[in-house]
Symmetry: C2
Subunit: 668 residues, 2 copies
């Protein structure tokens, strides 16, 4: 793999002297590093030379297989296919792409592409792409399944002072995919953090395993596209790939400790934070706002207060005294610290000298508005000396008047955020610490045929006895006693003690029990029970009846636990609040099996109505421990039984001492 | 008021020759328009000349009252006090400010300030401020209660090609406030839309009346600061003002047809849309995305799909055929329309020729990523010819490589959005059409003493009979019969017909009925009723008992209706879902009294769990009409009875044919 990033000699196949051709740009870009030997191969110069570390192919699609064979003969082990005209063109292109992949394999060639932009490595000074924008050096690696996005990002980053270690345009991933490059980047010393633009995931399980490994030491930020109807259609149309469900994807990322963002704007702003050295496992949450203008700082304070995870540090009396000593009487010394409009750079300096000593603060948002006497450039330069003491987050607001300040910030190794919201939103996103992934080594499933998503109508329900047994094998117990005949009623009610009871008829013909008078609630005694038994049997006389389930009626707070299979990630485990409002607002959260107990406890906290489970109106909290056990056990069951497509435990009644599964449905 | 914007002669009092002084900047800025006579008044030049339209005062705070008197003697009717050192400094400053206001009034002077930046009018070419940044001409007026925010905004706008008609820095509003200038801007021909940065509102009722008038023809966009704990503290510290509750404010703006935003970023992006001519009463919602890069357009499609109000137009076969004719085979002709990476400007042109004819489309997001052959500048220039056919929303992504394009867009009278999210977020915000405000002429309350918010402990509950009467006067009826003695039980149960019934004890000593065994539910017959009566009376033998309320038990979906007073806006009307989950997720919405039935119907639709009321699981929708009547009537009651501080109708049980008020509490 290293030859992709550190080649000593490169052959450009399809090199051109036409300035408008990709083959020209490739040679030009590569030749900027004089230490790399660059060979041009084309119609005039047909021979591929010996001793080539890397071949870059930019010929017509149909010529690519032959060229790869030629490369193979010359013992070239690494190739980048820039050419387009493959899978993205439809079935014929797909066939050609398969051929390309096969030829590469036969010839032991590591293949990147086709339909990609290439690779850039700022450390080895390699621009093996036709992108005219070589980025600034930095410690962020960018992996992109879209070339256009990569181009825009690198260009943007150059203007904003954000540097990269490596850029890899993944193209169609005929052979090497995001997983292969992630493996390489995991141990790459030049890379401190990884940004990924993804449209599809090649192997869900492997992806999670790897990302969770990486996030132990390096933040991973993912922009997942195609999460909506039109978005996923657009992905299919331009890559011909299937898209994982967005809920499963977001659950998977949480488990693997990766940060997900939903817009390029946030992706770019997070990149700025990463370039400043913000880490996911050492989040910047407790903030001070320093400003020369009241209004903008009030809005910023609102944003911090209304964020998920950020807060403003309460300055102690000592700090306030120190500030009073160095600031004019009109300055506001709360937080925000407003050093007011006539502040010159020295006043910023005095305030920062004090504020950088505030231990509770993880970072300082330094806001500047261009007022008459504001020393924009001097203030920008000043910040350099504080950046090793505290995380300095500059927000110089305005246009032409602050331009010199922006340039000075970049020259100081800082960046500028145009708006406070850009910082707060990005910080808020970068706060999820990496999660230890359960069984990262083995448990996580490889994709199997059973993970393909069946249409609802092809599913059938598992008989109750099997359901009960299979759940029981994993310590998941359905409430109640299963009776085959009426005589058993007396004993079972007796065993339960005081009622009320519920009686439910079990039959493969009855899926929605309430629909067919197949359930009786609030049964008070044996007489009522017998009556209900008879009534049920007479109404459902034509149904194929397995038996009857007798339950003691359960009080508690209603939750839902479920399992479904995702085409990319395999079995997903769902937790949600029960009841009609929860259904109306879709109050659920998802993880990928298997899950640890810690993860199960964490996922429950994501529910919007979590306060209900924590206990409102004087109620004690539900027993999260018992619920977590069910989630964990269900995730194990899902892995052990690939023949099961869906499981619904609904409702589960939760109290401070119990978690009672009132109904269960297993679909195969 | 016109003399503020069109003065023929201006006296700068406190003029200075020191380049660093405000008094210098003022003279310099004013003098840029040679048609305006500018007089410098200072220690050397003490005499205020005759025939001055506008005085601008930039002397020490304590000198301001005397200067105003001098102005009065010279018949000057308009003055701007730039000087700071007033209310924002604390009690002593407040006293001085009151004196300034009084002197101005005595001398018939319209006073803007103190502690403000001044006024800019691009039409009359007046820069009566010390801001070095005179904005581009345009049709947007900017009102700001923060000078710093104004400075940053004008500077930013200059760089982004957004123009303004007028900029007014409101300062401390010792006399003239946002209302006075809104009145002027309402009829200002040069102003098409209004941006306001607000920290406080001088008169809630008048503000709403005026804004709802303006939004009939001009969009009003408000950034309200101080909506969080730290934010409102910061406002108080730098203006010494009380802040209205953020829920009341947001309700008021909805009713008045104004758009609210929560960050400067959104404020700025909305300004871009306004400068392109987007109107709130003709929202841009149905979009086409045109792009030369797949990835960014997929993300944009996701953003549109996941927005509140935007959607992608489904292109019909005819349009697709037209596109096929002019685009290469690899282009994606769904929506997004991806004309792929090698598109030159002519391909954008061909696609736009077709897409501008799509009638269903309100606007086209034109995305561009800088690829090798992309003609950034030519594409930017091309867009000019389409801007009168469709709303063109350019998103040229990147840094240095697209800079020339950005400049060309601005020169073409367009703007550029850095990210698709900047457009979608701003469009999503600008879609609320203006609402006709009920009784805009009279009904809305002026602030009264009764609107001051009392502490909870000072409130006392109104006796049941009075409560029942006062609600009844406004056609709000509490469910049930009020009985004084046990003998009446039989008749009232008889009248109701079949039970079950609820029996509640009414006593000023019992506020939370369930706490004290003062309520019995599910009473089935007269015997149980009598038993409950006796039990209640014996348990509560020491309470002062008014009587007993007998209700037929109501089924239905539980909602909450309430009234509370806001210090700025007067009585607010609340609607919310009942039940514990609704309480956990705070599912409520607020309006300011009085409300029209239309408004009442609209506010109910804002509830997160609205699906419950619309009917889930086969249920019919609740009778929104009956609920709306209660809301409207309650809002009338709130205005008629300022002595009432709070009303809770909780719960109200709603079905498809009824809205039953089960419990009511009125606090004075």
């Amino acid at each position: 793999m290293d030859k992709f990033f550190n080649p000593k000699s490169v052959a450009v196949i399809g090199a051109s002297s036409d300035h408008k051709k990709v083959g020209f740009a490739l040679v030009k870009n590569l030749s900027e590093n004089k230490k790399i030997k660059v060979f041009s191969v084309n119609l005039e110069n047909k021979e591929i030379p010996d001793d080539v570390d890397l071949a870059i192919i930019a010929v017509k699609a149909e010529l690519v297989p032959q060229i790869l064979e030629d490369c193979g003969k010359k013992q070239i082990t690494n190739a980048i296919v820039i050419s387009s005209g493959f899978k993205e063109m439809g079935p014929v292109g797909k066939e050609l792409e398969d051929k390309v992949a096969a030829v590469a394999k036969q010839n032991n060639i590591n293949l990147l592409g086709p339909n990609c932009l290439g690779i850039i490595d700022t450390k080895s000074d390699l621009n093996a792409s036709f992108s005219p924008h070589k980025p600034l050096p930095g410690k962020i690696a960018l992996l992109s399944q879209s070339g256009a996005l990569g181009t825009a990002m690198l260009d943007w980053a150059t203007g904003e002072g954000v540097g990269f270690s490596k850029f890899i345009s993944l193209g169609n991933e005929a052979q090497l995919n995001e997983i292969d490059f992630l493996k390489y980047l995991k141990d790459d010393d030049d890379t401190d953090s990884i940004l990924i633009y993804l449209e599809k995931v090649s192997d869900g399980g492997e992806f999670m395993r790897l990302v969770s490994e990486i996030t132990k030491s390096k933040p991973v930020v993912i922009l997942k596209a195609g999460v909506s109807e039109h978005g996923s259609k657009a992905v299919m149309s331009h890559t011909g790939s299937l898209v994982p469900s967005s809920m499963a994807f977001s659950g998977a990322c949480k488990q693997a400790g990766a940060v997900t963002v939903s817009s390029l704007r946030e992706f770019f702003n997070v990149a700025k934070l990463l370039s400043l050295g913000v880490k996911t496992n050492k989040p910047v949450q407790n903030l001070i706002i320093l400003t020369n203008g009241g209004g903008p700082s009030v809005v910023a304070a609102d944003l911090v207060d209304n964020s998920k995870s950020l807060s403003l540090v309460e300055l102690n009396e000592n700090t306030k005294e120190e500030l009073k000593k160095v600031l004019p009487p009109m300055a506001a010394i709360g937080n925000p610290v407003d050093i007011i409009g006539d502040a010159l750079s020295d006043r910023y300096e005095k305030a920062l000298d004090v504020l950088c000593e505030v231990e509770e603060a993880d970072g300082i948002i330094v806001m500047l508005t261009p007022q008459m006497m504001t020393e924009v450039e001097a203030t920008a330069k000043l910040l350099m000396k504080y950046k090793n003491k505290k995380m300095i987050l500059p927000v110089f607001m305005g246009g032409p008047s602050v331009q010199a300040g922006r340039v000075a910030l970049i020259e100081s190794g800082l960046v500028n955020f145009a708006f406070a919201k850009d910082v707060t939103e990005a910080l808020d996103g970068l706060t999820s610490p990496p999660a230890p992934l359960l069984d990262a080594g083995e448990g996580r499933k490889k994709k199997t045929i059973s993970d393909s998503i069946p249409t609802e109508s092809l599913l059938h329900q598992m008989p109750f006895n099997d359901t009960s047994k299979i759940l029981g094998d994993f310590n998941i117990f359905i409430n109640g006693k299963f009776l085959k005949n009426k005589d058993e009623l007396y004993n079972s009610l007796n065993e339960y003690g005081e009622g009320p009871y519920a009686i439910k008829m079990i039959s493969p013909d009855i899926i929605h029990k309430t629909d067919l008078a197949a359930v009786a609630l609030n049964i008070k005694n044996i007489e009522e029970a017998k009556k209900a038994w008879d009534q049920m049997h007479s109404i459902n006389s034509k149904a194929n009846i397995e038996g009857v389930l007798v339950q003691k009626m359960s009080a508690g707070r209603e939750v839902i636990i479920g399992m479904k299979r995702d085409a990319t990630f395999g079995p997903t485990i769902l937790f949600g609040l029960g009841g009609i409002l929860a259904e109306a607002i879709k109050d659920t959260t998802i993880r990928i099996a298997p899950i640890s107990k810690d993860e199960a406890l964490k996922m429950m906290q994501e529910i919007k109505g979590i306060k209900i489970l924590q206990g409102m109106r004087g109620e004690p909290p539900v027993n999260f421990d018992l619920l977590a056990d069910i989630l964990v056990n269900l995730s194990r069951l899902a892995l052990a039984h690939p023949e099961i497509k869906e499981i619904d435990l609904n409702p589960v009644m939760a109290t401070d001492t119990s978690a009672t599964i009132v109904d269960a449905r297993v679909m195969m």
